[in-house]
């Protein structure tokens, strides 16, 4: 089992694929092999997120973000920045924040956790990645590789 696990989170809808595209970029560049990291593309994992994180020393989650910034901008999120709305939970409403909270309650949260958001503007079904999203993917992949090389400390989980 790899100590570092990268989860690209997304859906097939347009720029919501950026998380998957980062995993693909890291695989294609040889970064995963160089740093002995494993990576998965996850389609809206919901409740499965806790299981997907179990056993990793360091997990890096990459997902599309709508945080009001310019499309393509890469943001490393602090743990408290993702808000859980517990009284709204259903299978349809179980997102990354809820998945991380459940993993924390179950004790499967990795010792180190990095959550990276790439700002996107649109999620049109079947649309190719926009130029801004492609730029965000390249930037995020480069930042993750620096992280893997020890160039940047991830905030503690």
């Amino acid at each position: 089992m790899s100590a570092v696990r990268i989860l690209g989170i997304g859906s097939p809808h347009g720029d919501d694929r950026v998380g998957w595209a980062v995993v693909e970029a890291l695989a294609a560049s040889g970064a995963l092999a160089r740093h002995a990291a494993e990576a998965l593309c996850c389609d809206r994992p919901g409740l499965r997120l806790a299981a997907l994180l179990a056993g990793a020393e360091h997990a890096i989650l990459v997902d599309a973000l709508r945080g009001g910034g310019p499309p393509g901008r890469v943001r490393w999120l602090a743990p408290g920045e993702l808000a859980v709305q517990p009284d709204q939970l259903s299978a349809h409403g179980f997102g990354v924040a809820e998945g991380l909270a459940l993993a924390r309650a179950l004790g499967t949260l990795p010792r180190r956790l990095s959550v990276i958001g790439i700002e996107i503007a649109t999620t049109r079904p079947d649309a190719p990645l926009s130029a801004a999203a492609r730029a965000g993917v390249a930037a995020a992949a480069a930042e993750i590789e620096r992280e893997l090389a020890g160039g940047r400390a991830a905030p503690p989980a």
Partner: protein, 432 residues
């Protein structure tokens, strides 16, 4: 507080149900004056969307109605289409459809028990809060749900909105190794499922016996999934094609989902109705696990639904193992079908209950008309009836917060999938 106050309880967005709805209760002179389960999620017009589409597209389109029970929609649809085309896919397809359905019952029931229902009975606001005190229970639930999803993936290609089903059979048969691997996991999970039945029965469930009509499919030899006649505990016993003669869908102003009535009255579909009507079709290990709970089935206590759900997980695991142990890859994963004009019916047991479909095709197999009656719309009138009974038994002089909590517990106990039926919930209580 006394019963003479005017009280209005409003739950503007009901939590821990799938979809968007609200609840409004007006209490006047110590009695419930008005009670409305308001379903305001916009209608999705799936039936109209199917018109003019080829029969080949139907299984993939109807799977999109629900991310939790897509297999049910596929099963009712392909059985209706095969009836029109006089196609007989044979025993391999029949067995694999049953195994696929087992996967969906396991994941859907495990999700409802742990994510939506159990926090009510144990006093938590969410599964996240419950997980901190009951991590092993939640881990077991998630493992069962994941196993169900993997079984769907085996035959459906993926676990959400599967794409492996077609009229005539499947697009692909799994390999022996794939089947062997998941069969071993299903077998290993059986003690966990048996323990879940005992755990569910030991929950502090409210005691509330009610008079209601159970409706489910009944098959001569099997616990019902894909085939059978529609029966009730009041003597109903009809072919699925005769559904319209006894069941009527009506529109009510406060809901974008239709209400369904049997001979003009509310009725129950789902796990408790199935167990109430088909306990004798369960295999000995499941009957024994149920007997050990000390609960007598048929049960008049709707809160025993969670126990019925757990028993059906246990059953589905055993049934999937039984089917898959004898697995042989077939020469072909299905038969060719020849489209023709006609009318066909499909009625199968979705995790939440009876799911009835009717299709009319033209000579080329294009859909001329489609009707889909999902379980949640059938249970809607029963939920409103139950809320009146439950809240009056609970005591209308209880504080608003307690009334609201009980009302939400009653609704969630039915595992309503509002997205399916309209395709979420607000409680408003007014007292007077």
């Amino acid at each position: 507080m006394n019963g003479q106050r005017e009280v209005a309880i409003r739950v503007p967005v009901l939590a821990r149900v799938e979809g968007e709805g609200a609840l409004e209760i007006d209490i006047r002179e110590g009695r419930i004056d008005e009670l409305r389960l308001r379903i305001y999620e916009p209608p999705r017009f799936f039936e109209k969307l199917l018109e003019g589409r080829s029969y080949e597209e139907v299984p993939d389109l109807v799977a999109r109605i629900c991310g939790i029970c897509p297999v049910a929609y596929q099963m009712s649809a392909v059985h209706a289409l095969e009836q029109i085309f006089a196609a007989t896919p044979g025993p391999w397809v029949r067995a694999m459809r049953r195994a696929l359905y087992c996967g969906e019952w396991i994941e859907s029931h495990a999700l409802h028990i742990h994510l939506l229902a159990a926090p009510d009975f144990l006093g938590y606001e969410s599964v996240i809060a419950m997980a901190a005190d009951h991590p092993d229970v939640v881990r077991r639930g998630l493992a069962l749900q994941g196993l169900g999803n993997d079984l769907i993936r085996l035959l459906g290609g993926r676990s959400v909105h599967p794409i492996g089903v077609r009229a005539g059979g499947f697009h692909r048969a799994p390999t022996r190794d794939e089947v062997r691997a998941i069969t071993a996991r299903l077998r290993a999970a059986e003690p966990e499922a048996r323990a879940l039945v005992a755990w569910a029965a030991a929950l502090p469930l409210p005691h509330d016996a009610q008079d209601f009509v159970s409706v489910a499919l009944r098959h001569p030899h099997e616990y019902p999934m894909n085939e059978g006649r529609i029966v009730s505990d009041r003597g109903l016993d009809i072919d699925i094609a005769a559904f319209d003669q006894r069941f009527a869908e009506t529109q009510v102003a406060h809901s974008t989902a239709l209400h369904a009535l049997l001979d003009g009255a509310p009725y129950l579909v789902g796990p408790l109705a199935r167990v109430n009507l088909n306990a004798d079709r369960l295999p000995a290990p499941v009957r024994e696990a149920l007997r050990a709970t000390g609960i007598d089935f048929p049960s008049r206590n709707l809160f025993h639904s969670i126990v019925a759900r757990a028993a059906e997980i246990h059953y589905a695991l055993l049934e999937a193992v039984r089917i898959l142990e004898a697995y042989d890859p077939p020469p072909s994963p299905g038969v060719a079908v020849s489209p023709c004009a006609g009318v066909g019916f499909g009625c199968t047991e979705a995790p939440r209950g009876l799911l009835w479909h009717r299709y009319e095709t033209d000579a080329a197999g294009l859909i001329r008309a489609a009707r889909i009656v999902p379980p949640t719309s059938q249970n809607q009138a029963r939920i409103e009836e139950d809320l009146r009974c439950s809240l009056e038994a609970f005591g209308l002089d209880q504080p608003d917060a307690a009334l609201r909590q009980r009302a939400e517990t009653v609704i969630r106990n039915y595992d309503p999938c509002i997205s399916c039926a309209t395709h979420f919930l607000r409680l408003e209580v007014r007292r007077g």
